[in-house]
């Protein structure tokens, strides 16, 4: 399941940034490694929320700096939805 979430998130980042999925590894920093600027940050956040049908709290958005942090947050939101 975790793998699927990660795969989907990587696919979204790849779509928005144009980078190859294989270059988007878990430890990559959105802003330092993946050329994510303001508008791309919005596009990625909106696409993740739409894809997983979750709502990320505004105050949590600035805390996400790496791919793995995004995956962990989405997994925890999905867990909350299931429980």
């Amino acid at each position: 399941m975790v793998d699927n979430v990660e795969k989907e998130i990587v696919s979204i980042i790849s779509d928005v940034s144009g980078l190859d999925a294989e270059d988007i590894t878990p430890e990559k920093n959105f802003f330092k490694d993946l050329e994510v600027d303001s508008i791309k940050a919005i596009e990625i956040t909106v696409a993740i929320e739409k894809k997983f049908k979750v709502s990320i709290r505004d105050e949590d958005v600035p805390k996400i700096t790496t791919v793995q942090e995004a995956v962990a947050l989405v997994n925890s939101l999905l867990d909350q939805k299931r429980s």
Partner: protein, 473 residues
């Protein structure tokens, strides 16, 4: 007679607006074989100038921003070598906002602007914090605002409606929406482009910018066809195959990028039968931005009462900005409450603008003159009582004119309305119809204005360049 090279193109771009030109330059620079087809006889879209009776008028776009070190325009100028071709001057102040009680200038020195606002509104204690945030927001902080409006952002820092209106008037006229509806992102973008880092102007008029881009594009090996309308985008095996020009020529291309109106791209160029029911429904319910009524005056005398040349003045007769928006939607000769007024940098002509709805062509044929005369009277009331005496040329562009020259749906000035429900929609970036089809420009729901669409043009090109594994430089 063959008008284009019969070889296959790597990319065809429909529309030579600033975004299409920037995208074309980057693709050509990366080594791709690119064709741009533009229906108008000159490049630029809303960023064009025209001459009448010896006067040069900017048609709509009248200055640009984001030219500071590190700004989007600055980077594109450097990367495309435009900095060597265009002489850019920044006017100081870039903007001045005139209300019944205040005159607030936006100076090139931000500290001076902040002090002026603090002097006018001593009870507002977070003016500097607001400017600090707007000057250099972090991407993640902006992402956190994805569901917020510009009003939410203003309410966080200010209590006085007058200061909120002063900080929003440029967004209403340059974004087509009041703060309660405008997304926080788009509002911040306009605020930054027009007020914090605005007021840049190319020597010779705004047309100099698309002309320089067009020259650079051709120098990089690109083919630019003017007065050339595209009739169809062809799809084969779930990928774009090319475009059909109005004269019937089929141009094969691996990529097609539409820099023209989104509805036309989908409904006319692609056709309803290739579009999903969901997307068709979305297109039927999406709202375009308002259009504009633009007044062009040639004047025979320098008038001290007019704003200084190159500076954009914003006149307000009250502070109810939401009401201004509602009355814009019913614009007529009797409700000209707020407007933009600008004397061209050469000091010879005046440009004035108000938001206006599209209505229909007949309405504007019947009402253009009435609104034009009422607009001149309004300027006389507000600032220059004897203006009429010195007008040697007058004309106006109505929403119908804007549609005729650009084919933007309902003469929309800023693509789709920048409301939250229409924001950052991937269907308008890479439409889910076939491979290798992209949109660029203000219909992509991600930005507007010269600097905004320049960024989008660059971004569209970068997606394709990365996909092709080419190099930017």
């Amino acid at each position: 007679m063959a008008i284009v090279d019969r070889d296959i193109y790597d990319a065809v771009i429909i529309g030579a607006g600033v975004s299409g030109l920037v995208c074309g330059c980057y693709l050509a620079k990366a080594g791709m074989k690119v064709l741009i087809a533009e229906q108008h006889f000159k490049p630029g879209g809303y960023c064009t100038s025209f001459k009448r009776k010896g006067f040069t008028f900017d048609a709509a776009a009248h200055s640009f921003g984001s030219f500071r070190e590190g700004g989007n325009m600055n980077r594109v100028f450097r990367e495309l070598d435009l900095d060597k071709r265009l002489k850019i001057k920044r006017y100081d102040p870039s903007d001045v906002i005139i209300t019944p009680d205040y005159k607030i200038s936006f100076w090139n020195d931000l500290n001076r602007t902040i002090k002026e606002l603090q002097g006018a509104f001593p009870h507002e204690t977070e003016i500097r914090d607001f400017f600090d945030f707007m000057s250099s927001p972090k991407p993640a902080e902006i992402a956190a605002l994805r569901n917020k409006t510009f009003k939410d952002l203003l309410d966080k820092y200010f209590t006085d409606d007058r200061v909120k209106t002063i900080l929003s008037i440029a967004l209403l006229i340059n974004g087509g929406l009041p703060p309660s509806l405008l997304t926080a992102f788009t509002g911040s973008q306009i605020f930054s482009e027009f007020l914090l880092d605005g007021g840049y102007y190319p020597d010779g008029g705004m047309q100099a910018l698309p002309d320089a881009l067009a020259d650079r594009f051709k120098e990089l090996g690109g083919t630019l066809l003017l007065s050339c309308r595209v009739k169809k985008i062809k799809i084969k095996d779930e990928s774009v195959a090319g475009v059909v020009l109005e004269m019937g020529d089929f141009i094969r291309s691996k990529y097609v990028i539409s820099n023209c109106d989104a509805r036309q791209t989908f409904l006319k160029l692609l056709g309803r039968r290739v579009i999903s029911e969901d997307l068709l429904q979305k297109l039927d319910t999406m709202v375009p931005s308002l259009s504009m009524f633009v007044l062009y005056l040639g004047i025979s005398k320098d008038m001290a009462s007019l704003p200084q040349p190159g500076c954009t003045a914003w006149f307000l007769s009250h502070y109810a900005i939401e009401d201004m928006y509602l009355s814009s939607k019913k614009r007529n000769a009797g409700n000209l409450q707020e407007f933009l007024l600008r004397v061209s940098p050469d000091g010879e002509s005046v440009l004035a603008m108000v938001l206006a709805p599209f209505r229909n062509t007949k309405y504007w044929i019947n009402n253009k003159h009435k609104l034009l005369e009422a607009f001149i009277k309004k300027i006389e009331e507000h600032t220059t009582p004897d203006l009429s005496k010195y007008i040697v040329y007058k004309d106006a562009a109505t929403p119908s004119t804007l549609y005729r020259y650009t084919l933007n749906y309902k003469g929309a000035c800023y693509g789709w309305e920048s409301i939250r429900s229409q924001f950052a929609d991937p269907d308008f970036i890479k439409p889910p119809i076939c491979q290798n089809l992209y949109l660029t420009g203000h219909w992509t729901t991600r930005g507007l204005g010269v600097a905004g669409v320049t960024y989008i043009g660059y971004n569209t090109a970068s997606l394709i360049i990365k996909k092709e594994k080419l190099c930017y430089n």
